[in-house]
Symmetry: C2
Subunit: 315 residues, 2 copies
Protein backbone atom coordinates (compact mmCIF):
# COMPACT_ATOMS: atom_id res chain seq x y z
CA UNK A 1 0.00 0.00 0.00
CA UNK A 2 2.78 2.33 0.98
CA UNK A 3 4.73 1.52 -2.16
CA UNK A 4 1.75 2.14 -4.40
CA UNK A 5 1.25 5.60 -2.88
CA UNK A 6 4.91 6.31 -3.40
CA UNK A 7 4.83 5.33 -7.07
CA UNK A 8 1.61 7.30 -7.63
CA UNK A 9 3.25 10.30 -6.07
CA UNK A 10 6.24 9.90 -8.38
CA UNK A 11 4.01 9.72 -11.44
CA UNK A 12 2.24 12.89 -10.40
CA UNK A 13 5.53 14.64 -9.95
CA UNK A 14 6.71 13.49 -13.35
CA UNK A 15 3.36 14.36 -14.85
CA UNK A 16 3.38 17.80 -13.41
CA UNK A 17 6.80 18.60 -14.79
CA UNK A 18 6.11 17.55 -18.38
CA UNK A 19 6.10 20.89 -20.14
CA UNK A 20 7.57 21.18 -23.64
CA UNK A 21 9.05 24.14 -25.42
CA UNK A 22 6.86 24.85 -28.46
CA UNK A 23 8.38 23.67 -31.76
CA UNK A 24 7.22 22.97 -35.32
CA UNK A 25 6.17 19.41 -34.54
CA UNK A 26 4.23 19.76 -31.27
CA UNK A 27 2.95 23.13 -32.51
CA UNK A 28 1.36 21.52 -35.59
CA UNK A 29 -0.20 18.86 -33.42
CA UNK A 30 -1.53 21.57 -31.05
CA UNK A 31 -3.00 23.52 -33.99
CA UNK A 32 -4.75 20.40 -35.32
CA UNK A 33 -6.20 19.44 -31.97
CA UNK A 34 -7.67 22.83 -31.12
CA UNK A 35 -10.72 24.76 -32.42
CA UNK A 36 -10.46 27.84 -30.22
CA UNK A 37 -7.60 29.85 -28.78
CA UNK A 38 -8.26 31.75 -25.55
CA UNK A 39 -5.84 34.62 -25.06
CA UNK A 40 -4.98 36.60 -21.99
CA UNK A 41 -4.28 40.23 -23.02
CA UNK A 42 -1.82 42.03 -20.68
CA UNK A 43 1.64 40.54 -21.24
CA UNK A 44 0.38 38.37 -24.14
CA UNK A 45 -1.25 40.69 -26.71
CA UNK A 46 0.10 43.95 -25.31
CA UNK A 47 2.09 45.50 -22.49
CA UNK A 48 0.39 48.64 -21.25
CA UNK A 49 -0.57 50.43 -24.46
CA UNK A 50 2.07 48.79 -26.66
CA UNK A 51 1.26 45.84 -28.91
CA UNK A 52 3.70 42.93 -28.59
CA UNK A 53 5.55 42.34 -31.90
CA UNK A 54 3.90 40.05 -34.41
CA UNK A 55 0.60 39.65 -32.57
CA UNK A 56 -1.56 41.11 -35.34
CA UNK A 57 -0.21 38.78 -38.06
CA UNK A 58 -0.45 35.77 -35.73
CA UNK A 59 -4.12 36.40 -34.94
CA UNK A 60 -4.83 36.78 -38.68
CA UNK A 61 -3.05 33.49 -39.35
CA UNK A 62 -5.08 31.67 -36.69
CA UNK A 63 -8.34 33.09 -38.04
CA UNK A 64 -7.30 31.96 -41.53
CA UNK A 65 -6.95 28.45 -40.10
CA UNK A 66 -10.58 28.60 -38.95
CA UNK A 67 -9.79 28.98 -35.28
CA UNK A 68 -12.13 30.87 -32.96
CA UNK A 69 -10.37 33.56 -30.94
CA UNK A 70 -11.42 34.64 -27.46
CA UNK A 71 -9.76 37.28 -25.31
CA UNK A 72 -10.09 36.54 -21.61
CA UNK A 73 -8.68 39.26 -19.39
CA UNK A 74 -8.63 39.74 -15.64
CA UNK A 75 -8.12 43.47 -16.10
CA UNK A 76 -11.46 44.97 -15.04
CA UNK A 77 -10.66 48.62 -15.70
CA UNK A 78 -12.30 48.47 -19.13
CA UNK A 79 -15.64 47.20 -20.39
CA UNK A 80 -15.84 44.89 -23.41
CA UNK A 81 -16.67 47.87 -25.64
CA UNK A 82 -13.65 49.75 -24.31
CA UNK A 83 -11.46 46.70 -24.97
CA UNK A 84 -12.76 46.45 -28.54
CA UNK A 85 -11.75 50.11 -29.00
CA UNK A 86 -8.32 49.44 -27.56
CA UNK A 87 -7.81 46.51 -29.96
CA UNK A 88 -8.87 48.72 -32.85
CA UNK A 89 -6.52 51.52 -31.79
CA UNK A 90 -3.71 48.97 -31.96
CA UNK A 91 -4.75 47.94 -35.46
CA UNK A 92 -6.58 44.72 -34.57
CA UNK A 93 -10.26 44.19 -35.31
CA UNK A 94 -11.94 42.19 -32.54
CA UNK A 95 -15.66 41.94 -31.95
CA UNK A 96 -17.07 42.74 -28.54
CA UNK A 97 -18.44 39.20 -28.38
CA UNK A 98 -14.92 37.80 -28.51
CA UNK A 99 -13.95 39.64 -25.33
CA UNK A 100 -14.47 38.27 -21.82
CA UNK A 101 -13.21 40.69 -19.20
CA UNK A 102 -13.52 40.25 -15.45
CA UNK A 103 -15.64 43.43 -15.41
CA UNK A 104 -18.17 41.60 -17.63
CA UNK A 105 -17.81 38.46 -15.50
CA UNK A 106 -18.79 40.41 -12.37
CA UNK A 107 -22.00 41.62 -14.04
CA UNK A 108 -22.75 38.15 -15.44
CA UNK A 109 -22.17 36.57 -12.03
CA UNK A 110 -24.81 38.84 -10.51
CA UNK A 111 -27.16 37.92 -13.38
CA UNK A 112 -26.47 34.21 -12.85
CA UNK A 113 -27.49 34.35 -9.20
CA UNK A 114 -30.54 36.50 -10.05
CA UNK A 115 -29.30 39.43 -7.97
CA UNK A 116 -32.22 41.80 -7.53
CA UNK A 117 -32.00 44.91 -9.74
CA UNK A 118 -33.68 46.74 -6.84
CA UNK A 119 -30.49 46.44 -4.84
CA UNK A 120 -27.42 48.53 -5.55
CA UNK A 121 -23.82 47.49 -6.18
CA UNK A 122 -20.93 49.38 -4.58
CA UNK A 123 -17.82 49.39 -6.78
CA UNK A 124 -14.14 49.65 -5.88
CA UNK A 125 -12.66 49.72 -9.37
CA UNK A 126 -12.78 51.47 -12.69
CA UNK A 127 -15.23 52.52 -15.37
CA UNK A 128 -15.22 49.01 -16.90
CA UNK A 129 -17.07 47.46 -13.98
CA UNK A 130 -19.56 50.34 -13.76
CA UNK A 131 -20.33 50.14 -17.50
CA UNK A 132 -20.84 46.37 -17.53
CA UNK A 133 -23.08 46.54 -14.45
CA UNK A 134 -25.25 49.17 -16.13
CA UNK A 135 -25.44 47.17 -19.39
CA UNK A 136 -26.65 44.22 -17.33
CA UNK A 137 -29.36 46.37 -15.74
CA UNK A 138 -27.83 47.01 -12.32
CA UNK A 139 -27.41 50.28 -10.40
CA UNK A 140 -23.95 51.04 -9.12
CA UNK A 141 -22.43 53.42 -6.60
CA UNK A 142 -18.78 54.34 -6.08
CA UNK A 143 -16.12 53.52 -8.65
CA UNK A 144 -14.72 56.58 -10.45
CA UNK A 145 -17.32 58.84 -8.74
CA UNK A 146 -15.58 58.29 -5.39
CA UNK A 147 -12.02 58.75 -6.68
CA UNK A 148 -11.45 62.08 -4.98
CA UNK A 149 -13.49 61.64 -1.82
CA UNK A 150 -11.69 62.46 1.40
CA UNK A 151 -12.47 61.96 5.06
CA UNK A 152 -11.45 64.33 7.82
CA UNK A 153 -11.56 62.24 10.97
CA UNK A 154 -10.84 65.28 13.13
CA UNK A 155 -14.32 66.58 12.34
CA UNK A 156 -15.67 63.40 14.00
CA UNK A 157 -17.87 62.50 11.01
CA UNK A 158 -20.51 59.82 10.94
CA UNK A 159 -20.07 57.90 7.72
CA UNK A 160 -23.41 57.10 6.10
CA UNK A 161 -23.71 54.28 3.60
CA UNK A 162 -26.60 53.13 1.44
CA UNK A 163 -28.46 50.30 3.20
CA UNK A 164 -29.80 49.01 -0.13
CA UNK A 165 -26.34 48.00 -1.35
CA UNK A 166 -26.55 44.21 -1.74
CA UNK A 167 -23.15 43.55 -3.33
CA UNK A 168 -19.67 45.04 -3.32
CA UNK A 169 -17.54 44.41 -6.42
CA UNK A 170 -13.80 44.95 -5.98
CA UNK A 171 -11.35 45.16 -8.88
CA UNK A 172 -8.18 47.01 -9.78
CA UNK A 173 -8.53 50.62 -8.63
CA UNK A 174 -5.72 53.07 -9.10
CA UNK A 175 -7.79 55.63 -7.20
CA UNK A 176 -8.17 53.48 -4.10
CA UNK A 177 -8.74 55.56 -0.97
CA UNK A 178 -9.93 55.41 2.63
CA UNK A 179 -13.42 56.61 1.70
CA UNK A 180 -13.98 53.67 -0.67
CA UNK A 181 -12.53 51.20 1.81
CA UNK A 182 -14.83 52.45 4.57
CA UNK A 183 -17.84 52.40 2.24
CA UNK A 184 -17.18 48.82 1.10
CA UNK A 185 -16.47 47.70 4.66
CA UNK A 186 -19.71 49.14 6.06
CA UNK A 187 -21.77 47.54 3.26
CA UNK A 188 -20.22 44.11 3.76
CA UNK A 189 -20.27 44.25 7.56
CA UNK A 190 -23.62 45.95 8.13
CA UNK A 191 -25.96 45.26 5.18
CA UNK A 192 -27.50 41.83 5.82
CA UNK A 193 -26.45 39.30 3.15
CA UNK A 194 -24.31 41.80 1.24
CA UNK A 195 -22.11 39.92 -1.27
CA UNK A 196 -18.37 40.48 -1.62
CA UNK A 197 -17.25 39.83 -5.22
CA UNK A 198 -13.69 40.13 -6.54
CA UNK A 199 -13.09 40.53 -10.27
CA UNK A 200 -9.74 38.78 -9.70
CA UNK A 201 -6.84 38.58 -7.27
CA UNK A 202 -3.76 39.20 -9.45
CA UNK A 203 -1.03 40.55 -7.17
CA UNK A 204 0.47 42.80 -9.85
CA UNK A 205 -0.09 43.66 -13.49
CA UNK A 206 1.53 45.44 -16.43
CA UNK A 207 -0.55 48.62 -16.28
CA UNK A 208 2.30 50.23 -18.24
CA UNK A 209 4.71 48.51 -20.61
CA UNK A 210 7.69 49.47 -18.44
CA UNK A 211 6.94 47.78 -15.13
CA UNK A 212 4.37 46.08 -12.92
CA UNK A 213 1.93 47.84 -10.62
CA UNK A 214 -0.31 46.63 -7.78
CA UNK A 215 -3.15 44.52 -9.20
CA UNK A 216 -6.71 43.86 -8.06
CA UNK A 217 -5.26 41.41 -5.50
CA UNK A 218 -4.08 44.47 -3.59
CA UNK A 219 -7.52 46.12 -3.29
CA UNK A 220 -9.27 42.80 -2.70
CA UNK A 221 -6.84 41.96 0.12
CA UNK A 222 -7.44 45.38 1.69
CA UNK A 223 -11.19 44.67 1.87
CA UNK A 224 -10.51 41.15 3.20
CA UNK A 225 -8.24 42.73 5.83
CA UNK A 226 -10.90 45.07 7.14
CA UNK A 227 -14.00 42.84 6.75
CA UNK A 228 -12.23 39.55 7.57
CA UNK A 229 -14.32 37.94 4.85
CA UNK A 230 -13.28 36.15 1.66
CA UNK A 231 -14.75 37.15 -1.71
CA UNK A 232 -16.32 35.19 -4.54
CA UNK A 233 -13.78 35.48 -7.40
CA UNK A 234 -15.26 35.65 -10.90
CA UNK A 235 -12.10 36.16 -13.03
CA UNK A 236 -9.29 33.72 -13.71
CA UNK A 237 -8.43 31.21 -12.27
CA UNK A 238 -12.09 30.80 -11.23
CA UNK A 239 -13.84 28.87 -13.99
CA UNK A 240 -16.97 31.01 -13.77
CA UNK A 241 -16.21 32.67 -17.13
CA UNK A 242 -15.68 29.28 -18.77
CA UNK A 243 -19.38 28.47 -18.46
CA UNK A 244 -20.13 31.43 -20.70
CA UNK A 245 -17.45 30.47 -23.19
CA UNK A 246 -18.78 26.93 -23.39
CA UNK A 247 -22.35 28.06 -24.03
CA UNK A 248 -21.24 30.68 -26.54
CA UNK A 249 -18.76 28.77 -28.66
CA UNK A 250 -20.06 25.27 -28.19
CA UNK A 251 -16.53 23.92 -28.30
CA UNK A 252 -15.42 21.20 -25.90
CA UNK A 253 -12.77 22.53 -23.51
CA UNK A 254 -10.41 19.74 -24.60
CA UNK A 255 -10.38 21.46 -28.01
CA UNK A 256 -9.49 24.87 -26.55
CA UNK A 257 -6.03 26.21 -25.84
CA UNK A 258 -5.50 28.86 -23.15
CA UNK A 259 -2.57 31.16 -23.95
CA UNK A 260 -1.32 33.29 -21.07
CA UNK A 261 1.66 34.78 -19.27
CA UNK A 262 0.67 33.88 -15.71
CA UNK A 263 0.84 30.47 -14.10
CA UNK A 264 -1.46 31.15 -11.15
CA UNK A 265 -4.27 32.69 -13.18
CA UNK A 266 -4.09 31.85 -16.92
CA UNK A 267 -2.51 28.41 -16.88
CA UNK A 268 -4.38 27.30 -13.76
CA UNK A 269 -7.63 28.59 -15.31
CA UNK A 270 -7.00 26.63 -18.53
CA UNK A 271 -6.04 23.48 -16.68
CA UNK A 272 -8.99 23.66 -14.28
CA UNK A 273 -11.33 23.84 -17.27
CA UNK A 274 -9.63 20.98 -19.12
CA UNK A 275 -8.07 23.12 -21.88
CA UNK A 276 -4.63 22.73 -23.38
CA UNK A 277 -2.28 25.41 -22.10
CA UNK A 278 0.49 27.51 -23.63
CA UNK A 279 2.60 29.82 -21.48
CA UNK A 280 4.24 32.82 -23.18
CA UNK A 281 7.27 34.39 -21.52
CA UNK A 282 6.45 37.92 -22.75
CA UNK A 283 4.74 38.99 -19.52
CA UNK A 284 4.84 38.20 -15.81
CA UNK A 285 6.36 34.69 -15.76
CA UNK A 286 10.07 34.21 -16.47
CA UNK A 287 11.68 30.91 -17.52
CA UNK A 288 13.42 30.53 -14.11
CA UNK A 289 10.01 31.03 -12.41
CA UNK A 290 8.48 28.32 -14.62
CA UNK A 291 11.36 25.96 -13.88
CA UNK A 292 11.52 26.79 -10.15
CA UNK A 293 11.15 23.62 -8.08
CA UNK A 294 8.57 25.42 -5.91
CA UNK A 295 6.30 25.92 -8.93
CA UNK A 296 3.67 23.23 -9.38
CA UNK A 297 1.59 24.82 -12.16
CA UNK A 298 3.02 23.49 -15.40
CA UNK A 299 1.62 24.36 -18.86
CA UNK A 300 1.53 21.82 -21.71
CA UNK A 301 3.78 24.08 -23.80
CA UNK A 302 5.73 27.29 -23.39
CA UNK A 303 7.31 29.74 -25.81
CA UNK A 304 8.69 33.28 -25.85
CA UNK A 305 5.76 35.08 -27.42
CA UNK A 306 2.50 34.64 -29.32
CA UNK A 307 4.11 35.28 -32.73
CA UNK A 308 6.16 32.08 -32.35
CA UNK A 309 2.94 30.31 -33.38
CA UNK A 310 3.12 32.09 -36.74
CA UNK A 311 6.85 31.66 -37.12
CA UNK A 312 6.74 27.93 -36.36
CA UNK A 313 3.47 27.04 -38.12
CA UNK A 314 2.77 29.79 -40.63
CA UNK A 315 3.07 29.71 -44.40
Amino acid sequence: MKDKNKSEKKEQEMGSSSTEVLNGENGASLLNSVDAFLFDCDGVIWKGDKLIDGVSETLQFLRSQGKALVFVTNNSTKSRAQYASKFLSLGISVSQDEIFSSSFAAAMYLKSIQFSPDKKVYVIGGEGIVEELHLAGFTSLGGPDDANKKIELKQNPFFHHDKTVGAVVVGLDQYINFYKLQYATLCIRENPGCLFIATNRDAVGHMTDLQEWPGAGCMVAAVCGTTQKEPVVVGKPSTFMMDFLLKKFNVDTSRMCMVGDRLDTDILFGQSAGCKTLLVLSGVTSLPALQDSANNIVPDYYTDKVSDLLQLLGP
Copy 2:
Protein backbone atom coordinates in the same frame (compact mmCIF):
# COMPACT_ATOMS: atom_id res chain seq x y z
CA MET B 1 -3.71 6.68 26.15
CA LYS B 2 -6.76 7.70 24.14
CA ASP B 3 -8.75 8.40 27.31
CA LYS B 4 -6.00 10.51 28.74
CA ASN B 5 -5.95 12.69 25.62
CA LYS B 6 -9.68 13.00 25.81
CA SER B 7 -9.65 14.13 29.42
CA GLU B 8 -6.81 16.56 28.73
CA LYS B 9 -8.79 18.01 25.86
CA LYS B 10 -11.81 18.39 28.09
CA GLU B 11 -9.76 20.22 30.71
CA GLN B 12 -8.47 22.60 28.10
CA GLU B 13 -11.94 23.29 26.88
CA MET B 14 -13.13 23.91 30.42
CA GLY B 15 -10.06 26.03 31.12
CA SER B 16 -10.58 28.13 28.04
CA SER B 17 -14.17 28.95 28.92
CA SER B 18 -13.57 30.02 32.52
CA THR B 19 -14.10 33.74 32.31
CA GLU B 20 -15.75 35.56 35.21
CA VAL B 21 -17.67 38.78 35.31
CA LEU B 22 -15.74 41.20 37.52
CA ASN B 23 -17.22 41.65 40.99
CA GLY B 24 -16.15 43.01 44.36
CA GLU B 25 -14.61 39.73 45.48
CA ASN B 26 -12.59 38.64 42.43
CA GLY B 27 -11.82 42.32 41.74
CA ALA B 28 -10.19 42.72 45.16
CA SER B 29 -8.19 39.58 44.59
CA LEU B 30 -7.12 40.88 41.17
CA LEU B 31 -6.07 44.21 42.66
CA ASN B 32 -3.99 42.47 45.34
CA SER B 33 -2.26 40.14 42.89
CA VAL B 34 -1.22 42.81 40.39
CA ASP B 35 1.46 45.52 40.47
CA ALA B 36 0.91 47.00 37.01
CA PHE B 37 -2.14 47.63 34.83
CA LEU B 38 -1.60 47.68 31.07
CA PHE B 39 -4.35 49.58 29.27
CA ASP B 40 -5.32 49.58 25.64
CA CYS B 41 -6.53 53.10 24.72
CA ASP B 42 -9.12 53.13 21.86
CA GLY B 43 -12.35 51.66 23.21
CA VAL B 44 -10.97 51.44 26.76
CA ILE B 45 -9.76 54.92 27.77
CA TRP B 46 -11.47 56.84 24.97
CA LYS B 47 -13.51 56.49 21.81
CA GLY B 48 -12.20 58.78 19.11
CA ASP B 49 -11.61 62.05 20.95
CA LYS B 50 -14.11 61.40 23.74
CA LEU B 51 -13.01 60.12 27.13
CA ILE B 52 -15.03 57.16 28.40
CA ASP B 53 -16.92 58.05 31.59
CA GLY B 54 -15.10 57.59 34.87
CA VAL B 55 -11.69 56.75 33.38
CA SER B 56 -9.87 59.69 34.97
CA GLU B 57 -11.03 58.90 38.51
CA THR B 58 -10.29 55.19 38.04
CA LEU B 59 -6.70 55.82 36.93
CA GLN B 60 -6.24 58.13 39.94
CA PHE B 61 -7.57 55.42 42.23
CA LEU B 62 -5.21 52.79 40.79
CA ARG B 63 -2.22 55.13 41.16
CA SER B 64 -3.27 55.78 44.77
CA GLN B 65 -3.09 52.03 45.33
CA GLY B 66 0.55 52.07 44.16
CA LYS B 67 -0.12 50.43 40.83
CA ALA B 68 2.05 51.20 37.81
CA LEU B 69 0.03 52.25 34.75
CA VAL B 70 1.07 51.55 31.17
CA PHE B 71 -0.83 52.50 28.02
CA VAL B 72 -0.24 50.04 25.20
CA THR B 73 -1.91 51.06 21.96
CA ASN B 74 -1.86 49.56 18.47
CA ASN B 75 -2.89 52.92 17.00
CA SER B 76 0.27 54.09 15.22
CA THR B 77 -1.04 57.43 13.96
CA LYS B 78 0.47 59.26 16.94
CA SER B 79 3.89 59.26 18.57
CA ARG B 80 4.27 58.84 22.34
CA ALA B 81 4.61 62.62 22.71
CA GLN B 82 1.42 63.16 20.72
CA TYR B 83 -0.37 60.60 22.90
CA ALA B 84 0.80 62.35 26.07
CA SER B 85 -0.69 65.58 24.64
CA LYS B 86 -3.95 63.81 23.85
CA PHE B 87 -4.16 62.46 27.43
CA LEU B 88 -3.51 65.93 28.78
CA SER B 89 -6.18 67.47 26.52
CA LEU B 90 -8.63 64.99 28.03
CA GLY B 91 -7.59 66.03 31.55
CA ILE B 92 -5.32 63.07 32.35
CA SER B 93 -1.65 63.49 33.13
CA VAL B 94 0.39 60.63 31.72
CA SER B 95 4.13 60.61 31.22
CA GLN B 96 5.57 59.77 27.80
CA ASP B 97 7.42 56.84 29.43
CA GLU B 98 4.10 55.25 30.38
CA ILE B 99 3.02 55.08 26.71
CA PHE B 100 3.85 52.19 24.35
CA SER B 101 2.39 52.79 20.91
CA SER B 102 2.91 50.56 17.88
CA SER B 103 4.60 53.53 16.17
CA PHE B 104 7.24 53.44 18.92
CA ALA B 105 7.39 49.64 18.69
CA ALA B 106 8.23 49.84 14.97
CA ALA B 107 11.17 52.14 15.68
CA MET B 108 12.32 50.00 18.62
CA TYR B 109 12.10 46.86 16.50
CA LEU B 110 14.48 48.38 13.94
CA LYS B 111 16.82 49.35 16.81
CA SER B 112 16.65 45.84 18.24
CA ILE B 113 17.78 44.24 14.99
CA GLN B 114 20.48 46.92 14.51
CA PHE B 115 18.92 48.19 11.30
CA SER B 116 21.53 50.39 9.62
CA PRO B 117 20.79 54.13 9.95
CA ASP B 118 22.34 54.44 6.46
CA LYS B 119 19.28 52.74 5.00
CA LYS B 120 15.93 54.48 4.67
CA VAL B 121 12.49 53.42 5.86
CA TYR B 122 9.43 53.83 3.63
CA VAL B 123 6.26 54.53 5.62
CA ILE B 124 2.62 53.80 4.86
CA GLY B 125 1.05 55.42 7.88
CA GLY B 126 0.79 58.61 9.84
CA GLU B 127 2.97 61.19 11.53
CA GLY B 128 3.36 58.99 14.63
CA ILE B 129 5.52 56.43 12.84
CA VAL B 130 7.61 59.10 11.11
CA GLU B 131 8.24 60.94 14.41
CA GLU B 132 9.25 57.80 16.32
CA LEU B 133 11.58 56.69 13.50
CA HIS B 134 13.30 60.08 13.54
CA LEU B 135 13.63 60.06 17.34
CA ALA B 136 15.31 56.66 17.02
CA GLY B 137 17.78 58.05 14.45
CA PHE B 138 16.29 56.66 11.25
CA THR B 139 15.51 58.41 7.95
CA SER B 140 12.02 57.94 6.57
CA LEU B 141 10.29 58.49 3.26
CA GLY B 142 6.60 58.52 2.47
CA GLY B 143 3.98 58.77 5.21
CA PRO B 144 2.10 62.09 5.26
CA ASP B 145 4.43 63.50 2.54
CA ASP B 146 2.92 61.10 -0.01
CA ALA B 147 -0.71 61.67 0.99
CA ASN B 148 -1.65 63.59 -2.15
CA LYS B 149 0.55 61.86 -4.72
CA LYS B 150 -1.25 60.69 -7.84
CA ILE B 151 -0.28 58.49 -10.77
CA GLU B 152 -1.50 58.98 -14.30
CA LEU B 153 -1.01 55.62 -15.96
CA LYS B 154 -2.05 57.03 -19.32
CA GLN B 155 1.20 58.98 -19.44
CA ASN B 156 3.02 55.61 -19.31
CA PRO B 157 5.20 56.66 -16.37
CA PHE B 158 8.19 54.76 -15.03
CA PHE B 159 7.88 54.73 -11.27
CA HIS B 160 11.26 55.29 -9.58
CA HIS B 161 11.85 54.22 -6.01
CA ASP B 162 14.78 54.71 -3.67
CA LYS B 163 17.06 51.66 -3.79
CA THR B 164 18.43 52.45 -0.32
CA VAL B 165 15.09 51.75 1.36
CA GLY B 166 15.79 48.74 3.60
CA ALA B 167 12.47 48.53 5.42
CA VAL B 168 8.81 49.32 4.80
CA VAL B 169 6.67 50.07 7.86
CA VAL B 170 2.91 49.81 7.33
CA GLY B 171 0.37 51.13 9.82
CA LEU B 172 -3.07 52.73 9.77
CA ASP B 173 -3.15 55.27 6.93
CA GLN B 174 -6.29 57.22 6.19
CA TYR B 175 -4.52 58.71 3.19
CA ILE B 176 -3.75 55.37 1.59
CA ASN B 177 -3.33 55.63 -2.18
CA PHE B 178 -2.01 53.82 -5.26
CA TYR B 179 1.27 55.77 -5.19
CA LYS B 180 2.12 54.57 -1.68
CA LEU B 181 1.10 51.00 -2.51
CA GLN B 182 3.32 50.97 -5.60
CA TYR B 183 6.22 52.51 -3.67
CA ALA B 184 6.02 49.97 -0.86
CA THR B 185 5.59 47.11 -3.32
CA LEU B 186 8.66 48.05 -5.37
CA CYS B 187 10.82 48.40 -2.24
CA ILE B 188 9.75 45.01 -0.86
CA ARG B 189 9.92 43.22 -4.21
CA GLU B 190 13.03 44.81 -5.67
CA ASN B 191 15.33 46.04 -2.88
CA PRO B 192 17.34 43.00 -1.73
CA GLY B 193 16.55 42.07 1.87
CA CYS B 194 14.01 44.87 2.34
CA LEU B 195 12.00 44.25 5.53
CA PHE B 196 8.19 44.40 5.70
CA ILE B 197 7.05 45.52 9.16
CA ALA B 198 3.44 45.98 10.27
CA THR B 199 2.66 48.12 13.29
CA ASN B 200 -0.42 45.89 13.83
CA ARG B 201 -3.17 44.10 11.93
CA ASP B 202 -6.38 45.33 13.60
CA ALA B 203 -9.19 44.95 11.05
CA VAL B 204 -11.08 48.02 12.27
CA GLY B 205 -10.76 50.69 14.95
CA HIS B 206 -12.73 53.47 16.65
CA MET B 207 -11.10 56.38 14.82
CA THR B 208 -14.20 58.36 15.80
CA ASP B 209 -16.45 57.79 18.78
CA LEU B 210 -19.43 57.12 16.53
CA GLN B 211 -18.35 54.10 14.52
CA GLU B 212 -15.49 51.86 13.39
CA TRP B 213 -13.21 52.51 10.42
CA PRO B 214 -10.74 50.33 8.51
CA GLY B 215 -7.69 49.64 10.71
CA ALA B 216 -4.04 48.97 9.93
CA GLY B 217 -5.03 45.41 9.01
CA CYS B 218 -6.56 46.88 5.86
CA MET B 219 -3.36 48.59 4.63
CA VAL B 220 -1.16 45.69 5.76
CA ALA B 221 -3.33 43.22 3.84
CA ALA B 222 -3.15 45.42 0.73
CA VAL B 223 0.65 45.22 0.81
CA CYS B 224 0.51 41.47 1.47
CA GLY B 225 -1.84 41.17 -1.51
CA THR B 226 0.52 42.86 -3.92
CA THR B 227 3.87 41.58 -2.57
CA GLN B 228 2.60 38.13 -1.55
CA LYS B 229 4.79 38.42 1.54
CA GLU B 230 3.88 38.37 5.22
CA PRO B 231 5.07 41.13 7.58
CA VAL B 232 6.78 41.10 10.96
CA VAL B 233 4.11 42.45 13.34
CA VAL B 234 5.43 44.57 16.24
CA GLY B 235 2.17 45.67 17.91
CA LYS B 236 -0.33 43.55 19.82
CA PRO B 237 -0.77 40.56 19.89
CA SER B 238 2.96 40.18 19.08
CA THR B 239 4.84 40.16 22.38
CA PHE B 240 7.66 42.31 21.00
CA MET B 241 6.52 45.30 23.09
CA MET B 242 6.37 43.17 26.23
CA ASP B 243 10.16 42.82 26.27
CA PHE B 244 10.44 46.57 26.66
CA LEU B 245 7.81 46.66 29.38
CA LEU B 246 9.57 43.92 31.31
CA LYS B 247 12.93 45.69 31.18
CA LYS B 248 11.40 49.04 32.07
CA PHE B 249 9.10 48.14 34.93
CA ASN B 250 10.87 45.08 36.27
CA VAL B 251 7.52 43.52 37.15
CA ASP B 252 6.89 39.83 36.50
CA THR B 253 4.19 39.41 33.84
CA SER B 254 2.17 37.26 36.26
CA ARG B 255 1.77 40.44 38.32
CA MET B 256 0.50 42.49 35.38
CA CYS B 257 -3.09 42.79 34.17
CA MET B 258 -3.83 43.64 30.53
CA VAL B 259 -7.07 45.61 30.15
CA GLY B 260 -8.47 45.79 26.62
CA ASP B 261 -11.53 45.76 24.41
CA ARG B 262 -10.28 43.31 21.76
CA LEU B 263 -9.93 39.57 22.11
CA ASP B 264 -7.59 38.99 19.17
CA THR B 265 -5.11 41.72 20.05
CA ASP B 266 -5.35 42.86 23.70
CA ILE B 267 -6.45 39.69 25.44
CA LEU B 268 -4.31 37.42 23.27
CA PHE B 269 -1.34 39.76 23.85
CA GLY B 270 -1.84 39.62 27.63
CA GLN B 271 -2.30 35.87 27.66
CA SER B 272 0.71 35.20 25.41
CA ALA B 273 2.87 37.18 27.81
CA GLY B 274 1.48 35.46 30.92
CA CYS B 275 -0.47 38.46 32.25
CA LYS B 276 -3.87 38.41 33.88
CA THR B 277 -6.50 39.73 31.47
CA LEU B 278 -9.60 41.92 31.82
CA LEU B 279 -11.90 42.52 28.86
CA VAL B 280 -13.99 45.71 28.86
CA LEU B 281 -17.12 45.80 26.71
CA SER B 282 -16.85 49.53 25.96
CA GLY B 283 -15.17 49.04 22.59
CA VAL B 284 -14.98 46.47 19.79
CA THR B 285 -16.03 43.26 21.57
CA SER B 286 -19.65 42.70 22.53
CA LEU B 287 -20.85 40.21 25.15
CA PRO B 288 -22.37 37.93 22.45
CA ALA B 289 -19.00 37.94 20.62
CA LEU B 290 -17.21 36.95 23.84
CA GLN B 291 -19.71 34.19 24.49
CA ASP B 292 -19.82 32.98 20.86
CA SER B 293 -18.93 29.29 20.66
CA ALA B 294 -16.51 30.09 17.80
CA ASN B 295 -14.48 32.35 20.10
CA ASN B 296 -11.53 30.65 21.78
CA ILE B 297 -9.83 33.68 23.31
CA VAL B 298 -11.19 34.00 26.80
CA PRO B 299 -10.10 36.66 29.32
CA ASP B 300 -9.79 35.94 33.05
CA TYR B 301 -12.40 38.63 33.77
CA TYR B 302 -14.76 40.89 31.88
CA THR B 303 -16.73 43.98 32.77
CA ASP B 304 -18.57 46.86 31.07
CA LYS B 305 -15.98 49.59 31.42
CA VAL B 306 -12.79 50.60 33.18
CA SER B 307 -14.60 52.64 35.83
CA ASP B 308 -16.19 49.46 37.18
CA LEU B 309 -12.81 48.89 38.87
CA LEU B 310 -13.36 52.07 40.86
CA GLN B 311 -17.00 51.40 41.54
CA LEU B 312 -16.37 47.86 42.80
CA LEU B 313 -13.10 48.43 44.65
CA GLY B 314 -12.85 52.15 45.38
CA PRO B 315 -13.40 53.95 48.67
